[in-house]
């Protein structure tokens, strides 16, 4: 069988023109039928040993195709493609070939599938978004499906991601995906790693690099240190780090490349947070997203192990996150009451300067101890760990030792004034895109809280944002950190802290135990705040170091 004629071309399906899609699908159908025929003919003839290998290979190939078709039948924004793919699958099944079925329960393990928008039932605006995303990537990933709770943000997010990965930029395409893999692997996020391994190979990346960072070019290896620090202790970044990257003889980075890499790293660190924070399931067509077997208990995927969602882990993890059930009913009312009080008495109560300063310090210190009490070291799956050499280096071990986080004053170096200008100078247009994304995430509100309408949530949003920055040692002179304590309860803080600092440890229980009255869309909203605040915090530290290097 000639490989050429059986090369499946999926890109035709991304077209907005239905006839193009039609022909592409028809093509795929032909190929699949041919492969099936071939397999059946092989099966009927007595199996010779030499055939065995090629037989499995082609069966593998077919199964990959079928898995992809399955994904299309569920996740393609175009109705015709969904129907036709399903039809093809059915007809194959009738031929006696085993077809795959999706594993898991929709795009997120935390959010019931029925809460999430079904592909096909989206409104026109969302459909346009889906089509854009599908056209750019050839898939509609689970992240997109969860983020579509907030289409306004999703649009900006996709635009930025598309620009970072596919448009003009100083780094070659395969470098970009590899950096994405490096960043996601820091948090053992196999979901993102899998996605980008595919993309990396697709743009012509060298498969050898995937065996570990030490197989990648020296230039990328040099980035490993920055990746590590950025992910776990961004405040330790100094201009020496930057200098080390920029002045490494033939392996040195240019400033523009470095800014691109930094943006990519921070983007994927925070996206890993989102993936774990919302319990994103593996893609249907990737490993662990589908099965050819009937359901069985022993079947779990890498993701489940690494993020502690494995059923055994879940029993032990996180007793601190428990809040008694009776409280939960009044949670929302209590929160709203507090917000009202803060609003009213802000002018009366005048805290002294020292008081304010110490509140920040207290919050910062406490944030280190807000942690789930689980002690066991989760061993990362081999598959992912190969991308980072130093697994022991995490947020956790410094917090144990109570390391001092220096204070970063936002009034002296902020995104709007300084970070933006620097990024836009070195990597044009991206500053604008990220700036927009930050704005949308920070200002996004529907003026609702759980069942209440017309609530001004700006105070709550600011508390969450500033709490995250506080964990990174970033201080706003004009913020009273006492508010955080009033508005964010312990289980919520545990969740925030875990998502932002050690996302791989997030469990469904943590997700469920905060804000129990709130809707899932609101929890996703919280996650958007978390990831953008985290990204900004990391960017601020990295950019400040670059600025210091430049002056």
């Amino acid at each position: 069988m000639a490989e050429g004629e059986n090369e499946v071309r999926w890109d035709g399906l991304c077209s907005r023109d239905s006839t193009t899609r039609e022909t592409a699908l028809e093509n795929i159908r032909q190929i699949i039928l041919r492969k099936t025929e071939y397999l059946r003919s092989v099966k009927e003839t007595p199996c010779r040993p030499s055939d065995g290998l090629s037989n499995t290979v082609s069966l593998d190939g077919l199964n990959k195709l079928l898995a992809h078709l399955l994904m299309l039948s569920k996740r393609c924004p175009f109705k015709d493609v969904r129907e036709k793919s399903e039809f093809i699958l059915k007809s194959i099944q009738e031929l006696g070939i085993r077809i795959p079925r999706p594993l898991g329960h929709g795009p997120s393990r935390f959010i019931p599938e029925k809460e999430i928008l079904q592909v096909g039932s989206e409104d026109a605006q969302m459909h346009a978004l889906f089509a854009d995303s599908f056209a750019a990537l050839g898939r509609l990933d689970n992240i997109t499906l969860v983020m579509v709770f907030h289409p306004q943000y999703l649009e900006s997010f996709l635009k930025t991601q598309h620009y970072l990965l596919q448009m003009d930029g100083p780094l070659p395409l395969h470098y970009r995906h590899y950096i994405g893999i490096m960043a996601a692997a820091r948090h053992q996020c196999s979901y993102l790693v899998n996605l980008h391994v595919n993309d990396f190979l697709h743009v012509g990346g060298d498969p050898k690099w995937l065996n570990g960072l030490e197989n990648a070019p020296q230039k990328l290896q040099n980035l490993g240190e920055l990746n590590k620090v950025l992910a776990h202790r961004p405040w330790l970044i100094t201009k020496e780090h930057i200098e080390g990257l920029l002045k490494a003889e033939e392996h040195s980075w240019s400033l523009a490349e470095l800014v691109h890499a930094v943006v990519l790293l921070t983007h994927y660190h925070s996206l890993a947070s989102f993936t774990f924070g919302c319990g994103i399931s593996p893609e249907i067509h990737c490993d662990g997203g589908h099965t050819f077997r009937p359901p069985s208990v022993s079947n779990y995927c890498i993701c489940d192990i690494t993020n502690g969602n494995h059923s055994v882990d879940e029993m032990q993890v996180n007793s601190a996150g428990n809040v008694s059930v009776s409280d939960s009913f009044f949670e929302v009312e209590a929160l709203m009451e507090k917000m009202r009080q803060l609003q009213e008495c802000r002018d009366e109560e005048e805290a002294s300067q020292e008081e304010m300063a110490s509140r920040f310090e207290i919050e910062k210190r406490e944030s280190m101890f807000v942690f789930s009490s689980d002690d066991e070291e989760v061993t990362p799956a081999r598959d992912v760990s190969r991308h980072f050499e130093d697994t022991s280096y995490g947020y956790k071990d410094f917090s144990r030792h109570g390391m001092h986080v220096p204070t970063f004053r936002v009034q002296d170096y902020c995104w709007e004034d300084h970070g933006y200008s620097l990024v836009n100078r070195l990597y044009p247009d991206v500053g604008q895109l990220i700036d927009e994304k930050f704005h949308i995430a920070y200002n996004l509100t529907y003026n609702t809280m759980a069942m209440h309408k017309d609530v001004d949530t700006s105070m709550l949003r600011r508390a969450i944002w500033n709490y995250i920055h506080c964990m990174f040692g970033i201080r706003y002179d004009d913020y009273d950190y006492g508010e955080i304590n009033q508005l964010l309860d312990r289980s919520f803080k545990v969740y925030i802290k875990t998502v932002v600092c050690t996302p791989e440890k997030v469990t469904k229980r943590m997700y469920d135990s905060f804000w129990r009255q709130f809707k899932h869309s609101e929890k996703v909203h919280v996650n958007l705040l978390l990831i953008e605040a985290r990204m900004q915090a990391e960017l601020l530290y990295a950019l400040r170091a670059i600025t210091r290097y430049m002056t």
Partner: protein, 790 residues
């Protein structure tokens, strides 16, 4: 009267003296402000708040206003301002949102006077009223501006910027009640201090935050704004709509802007990031700063002119923890380092050249050498006596025009429009293009096309009529010679070894030679005699001919009574020497008597037009029959394309490349092809031949080129009802939920091609409108407009 009094105050003290100097501060400065006596300056930052006196030779610390042991955020200053009426009064804006006033007249060590804690977020700017003693204005991150009366404990009025952060507030110097505020979203608002409910005027000044603004000290209503988009704009606010008067593009976001005293058009700027220098711009000359101060090692955060009537002293504070006094005469002037020279080639061969006057003056003294047909024309810029920088940038502009007619590029346009590049069989394309070229008098090109046809198409298809035509009279007069150099010894195998026809006929090839439909002309001035010694020359061919000189065999003419094919010699100059001829329309360049061409004689020997203005090579029938595979010629064709391209006729190179397609593409490396394509497309676009250029882009096989017309294919449309941009789809507006693009004929929504009249803006489906306008000339919408569709 007012002016008078101010001048006296200015001159009241002794005249300012000093030198460029700087002093080290203990901490980075965020802002500075000068006392009205011009002898003291206050520096404020996160951990510094000091007053320095400006002495002749140095800064002397006079007072530290940060008293007390415990650090307080109230002292972490984002901004500081010194009252211009009262030497004892200062105000600071703290990063925690507090506005503090200071009274230097207080007897105690702590000079703090009042504390206003009304803002919820960082206060970015404070500003005293220029003439009123007790009025203070503040602008904060929380989006509010507050006006304080220092005799009261709280604010008099609050102005809301609609939740957008305020970056700067400035009282107008001339209008008592007016102040301007700038915002993080790019807006500028004008307020009347008596009307806190709404702003008087609002407009978007910049893309992104507007960090600063400054009113012109003399011109009423001139406001300078600087933003993150790296621009400084000067607005005239006296008109009904704020009018942008000047725009200066800097290299980094603009943090501060300050008009220079006594210089109407000058302003000083410093940047927030990356760039550490202070620039003084003349707004009428927005590209080169008039002066530049390079003392600081980190970003400059505050600038102030030392005295409101002295343009030469500038003070600045910086993040590098230093305070500087800059003297204007010590500034570096980038203009001096600039090369005021420019050169530009016009579309039709004109040349314009600007240079320093001194240079040109020396040059123009020389007489243009005789015989030069180009006429230099000199222009001198009229100097405006009002312009202060006349001495800095005087340059003269000279324009050289092409001789009328000679430089006309009409042939280029015609050729581009008439060439057929695809859609027909190769033979037809070649014939068509040959015809086009011939009609335009470009015989060499025509001949090339004909030959390409012969090379790449099977000979049987060659219509003889056409051939006759193409060889024309040339062949007839060449005929007697033909027999004399038949290549008898030519074996089919050897045939591929290019037989040379060296014919050193006398080419007095004047333009007369162009008339003959024959061949190319580039040529040497051959002293050899007439066709009689052609046979010898032919023999000579091998002796002298270099290996790389390949000749095209052109079985062109099948005469009934002639058994051999007669090949008009179509030799291409393969040598660089020939190619060296100045670029230009090739039918002009070959003046037989032009010295450098004759100089290249030896190498150009292969180009051998005969006396009858073209040379012939006859090949035995056997050779022809051997059917040289087109591949054999590919080297030749490649060299030919190179020749054309290097001669400047990239049009020919690209056209042949497209027409021949796969046949030659593989022989020419991608980069060269790309280069040709881009040059040709560039030329086409300069001549506004958009359609042709698009066709070329479409037909190109090079990826880099064909993606050209896939870039920016988005057409942005605004909704016809609410005038807002329609973001997601072109036919439904997200905001007013109405279908925007209705077809005027069928009244349905147009989702595909939408055509509309540019006169009345009605339109609809392409088909419908075309049909409608066939029958009627009025607009289908009934608006009475006479629409045109072309």
């Amino acid at each position: 009267m007012e002016k008078m009094s101010r001048v006296t105050t200015a001159l009241g003290g002794s005249t300012l003296t000093g030198r460029t100097m700087h002093c080290h501060l203990d901490a980075p400065a965020n802002a500075i402000s000068v006392c009205r006596d011009a002898a003291q300056v206050v520096v404020a930052g996160r951990s510094i708040f000091k007053i320095y006196s400006i002495e002749e030779e140095q800064f002397v610390e006079k007072l530290n206003l940060r008293v007390g042991r415990k650090p307080s955020l109230n002292l972490s200053c984002a901004d500081v301002v010194w009252h211009q009426m009262d030497e004892n009064l200062l105000a600071t804006a703290a990063t925690n949102g507090v506005v503090v006033t200071w009274n230097l007249g207080r007897p105690s060590r702590n000079k703090q006077d009042q504390l206003f804690t009304e803002h919820k977020r960082t206060v970015n700017k404070v500003c005293f009223h220029p003439t009123e003693a007790h009025v203070l204005l503040s602008g904060s991150q929380d989006g509010f501006m507050k006006c304080f009366d220092l005799r009261r404990k709280d604010s008099v009025s609050t102005f809301s910027g609609q939740s957008e952060s305020v970056r700067d507030v400035q009282f107008s110097i001339r209008d008592y009640f007016t102040f301007a505020s700038t915002f993080e979203n790019g807006n500028v608002q004008l307020w009347d201090i008596r009307r806190p409910d709404r702003c008087e005027r609002m407009f978007t000044a910049h893309n992104g935050p507007v960090f600063c603004c400054d009113w012109h000290p003399e011109d009423r209503g001139w406001l300078a704004t600087g933003g993150r988009d790296k621009m400084v704009k000067v607005w005239d606010m006296t008109t009904h709509r704020a009018k942008e008067m000047h725009c200066v593009q800097t290299i980094a976001s603009v943090a501060r802007v300050k008009w220079r005293p006594e210089c109407r058009h000058h302003l000083a700027t410093c940047s927030m990031m990356v760039d550490h220098n202070i620039y003084v711009w003349d707004v009428r000359r927005p590209f080169v700063p008039a002066a530049m101060f390079e003392e600081h090692r980190d970003v400059t955060t505050g600038i102030a002119w030392r005295h409101p009537h002295d343009p030469s002293f500038l003070l600045s504070g910086s993040k590098d923890s230093s305070l500087c006094q800059h003297l204007f005469r010590d500034a570096s002037q980038p203009v001096e380092r600039a090369n005021p020279e420019g050169l530009c080639y016009g579309l039709f061969g004109d040349l314009a050249f600007a240079a320093k006057e001194s240079l040109v003056a020396a040059e123009s003294g020389r007489k243009p050498y005789s015989g030069d047909r180009r006429h230099p024309m000199f222009f001198k810029r009229k100097l405006d006596p009002a312009e202060p920088f006349a001495g800095l940038a005087s340059s003269a502009l000279s324009v050289f025009e092409m001789e009328p007619g000679s430089g006309s590029m009409g042939w280029f346009v015609d050729t581009a429009e008439r060439y057929a590049l695809s859609g027909r069989p190769l033979a037809e394309l070649c014939d068509h293009n040959a015809k086009v070229a011939r009609e335009l008098g470009r015989n060499q090109v025509a001949q090339t096309w004909t030959m390409l046809r012969i090379i790449y198409c099977s000979p049987g298809l060659v219509p003889s009529a056409n051939l006759n035509h193409s060889v024309g009279k040339g062949s007839s007069c060449g005929l007697p010679l033909m027999n004399s150099f038949n290549l008898k010894d030519m074996t089919p195998g050897l045939g591929s070894e290019t037989r040379l026809d060296r014919n050193k006929g006398d080419t007095r090839s004047d333009t007369a030679l162009l008339d003959s439909s024959a061949t190319l002309i580039t040529n040497e001035d051959n002293e050899e005699t007439e066709g009689s010694d052609v046979p010898t020359d032919y023999l000579l061919g091998d002796a002298e001919g270099e290996e790389d000189e390949l000749y095209l065999l052109d079985p062109e003419h099948a005469h009934p009574e002639e058994p051999e094919y007669v090949l008009p010699q179509e030799a291409f100059p393969l040598r660089h020497e020939i190619v060296d001829t100045p670029p230009g329309p090739e039918h002009l360049q070959d003046k037989a008597d032009s010295p450098h061409v004759s100089g290249s004689e030896a190498d150009a020997a292969s180009l051998a037009p005969m006396d009858s203005s073209f040379s012939l090579l006859s090949v035995s029938h056997a050779l022809y029959d051997s059917r040289l595979p087109p591949d054999f010629f590919s080297v030749l064709v490649r060299d030919m394309l190179r020749f054309y391209a290097e001669q400047g006729d990239v049009q020919m190179a690209v056209s042949v490349l497209i027409v021949l397609g796969e046949r030659v593409r593989k022989d020419i490396d991608e980069q060269t092809q790309e280069h040709w394509y881009t040059s040709y497309i560039d030329l086409l676009q300069r001549f506004r031949l958009w359609n042709v250029s698009n066709e070329v882009v479409k037909l190109s096989t090079s990826r880099a080129i064909s993606c050209l017309n896939q870039a920016s294919t988005t057409l942005h449309v605004n909704c016809s009802h609410c005038k807002r941009p329609m973001s997601s789809r072109g036919w439904v507006c997200d905001r007013c939920h109405r279908c925007a693009s209705m077809c005027a004929v069928c009244h349905h929504v147009v989702k595909g091609l939408f055509v509309w009249c540019q006169g009345c803006s009605h339109g609809g489906h392409l088909q419908h409108i075309m049909k409608w306008l066939e029958g009627s000339s009025h607009c289908p919408a009934g608006c009475g407009h006479l629409c045109e569709y072309s």
